[in-house]
Amino acid sequence: MGTTESDRTGGCPVHDIHQFDMYDPAYVAAIFDVFAAMHAEGPVTRAEPYGGWWIITGHDEVFAAARDHRTFSRQTEFPTHRFTRDGQEFPPNPASAIMLRTLISLDPPAHKPVRVALNPHFTPAAIAPYEPNIRAYANELIDSFSERGSCDAWLDFAQPLAHVVIFAELLHCPVERLADLWAIIENLPPNANGHTVDDLLEAMAEFVTDFVLWRKEQPPLGDVIDTLLATEINGQPLSLDVVIANVVLILAAGVETTGSVIATALDFLGRNTELRAQLAADPALLEQACEELLRLFGSVQLQPRTVMQDTELGGQQLKRGDRVLLAYGAASRDPKLYECPEEFRLERDTKSHVAFGLGAHRCIGSNIARLEFRVALEEWLRRIPVYELGAGHVYRRKIDHIHGPVALPLTFPASTRETAAPAGVAR
């Protein structure tokens, strides 16, 4: 089977990889062509905007750098949080500064106590009970549009599903409160270049603060929120603002990421109808198909690091203080490792894809994401095995480094609802 990738990047102009700008929509739209051009030049590419960054695209080099936290520190912001495009450095704003105190920005050893405290909430055994609920949410969402024969698969399905799984299942946030969240998201100021973590943090801070303060007054559930409230680093409990920032991190890292992968997969299957029919006829293939889709379209494309000591990587000399972007999305398409990396091949050995990263910060939510992705496709293909992509599809960068559709209109033969009483998951 050799289905080719979505044609959305087809015919794009060749970009100058040394001027690669992760915030420029033209580069975002052509991101996989840009990565391919970088692979052709070497595993480590210098890009000049924002003061100069090393883009690590080779699988071996990403493997080495992501696992070496002494040389490559995660105490780092995304380019626009500290640099103007022409390289002027400015101090972090308070919203960005507090993110530097969350799980994802702590280097070991400070990282370990927080990670170890949270890990038990994310194991396959801890996540397994979500499955029937994810299935029910997916069907409730499909019911909200099945009779209409049309929907926006991002706005009406992937995004709300990703939200409810994290809020209701992981964070035990009452489903009724989701309406407040939709209002916040819908009121986010329009931003043609996608939202930064700062925009999101500011928009969500109020909601999350209310929620965490409310949870503090409730009997403990022994979940992620209670664990964060009880976690200490060097004998000091996390301050309330750091607990809140960690909850925002979990939302930022867990919602748009998984939703984007689901929507990108529906987009891809909308273009590759033979594969879609094969998967609809034999859902047992979905587990492997999901891994190959994660390899191709893992939504987290780039993650920042700062070089802590001079080092050589992929034939380049990196100096202490240099800034680096680990291109996980490129490493999962390294032609040294994968034959015709841009092709979907169901039978491919996908074990070494790095959609969830590597090293101390590797995705804590991978078990949730994998389960949610598979169940979402199982239920979608069971209910809507045949659909047509509509016009108006928009693919872009969201929240700095997460890529995926923000509009995915499609049509399909109308069908009846399966459930009678909705629980309020749909927006």
Binding site: R115, V116, N119, P120, A125, K351, G359, S366
Partner: protein
């Protein structure tokens, strides 16, 4: 066949237990735990698959 786990390299991706639940579990802190040191012959194929599936290359097999 023996299983050797590099506990510094393991980051708890849980791919090993997905493929070989009789050989691996996660401990209370979320990292891999070997359930056996010596792999029974009927689980040797599963052990090889689990070792190949570890994204951190933390699992080694010794004869």
């Amino acid at each position: 066949m023996k299983l050797v786990l590099d506990t510094d390299a393991c980051q708890g991706h849980a791919r090993c237990l997905a493929l070989a639940p009789d050989l691996f579990d996660l401990d209370a802190t979320g990292y891999a735990l070997l359930l056996v040191a010596t792999v029974p012959p009927e689980l040797e194929a599963a052990a090889r698959e689990a070792a190949a599936a570890c994204p951190e290359r933390a699992i080694a097999l010794e004869p």
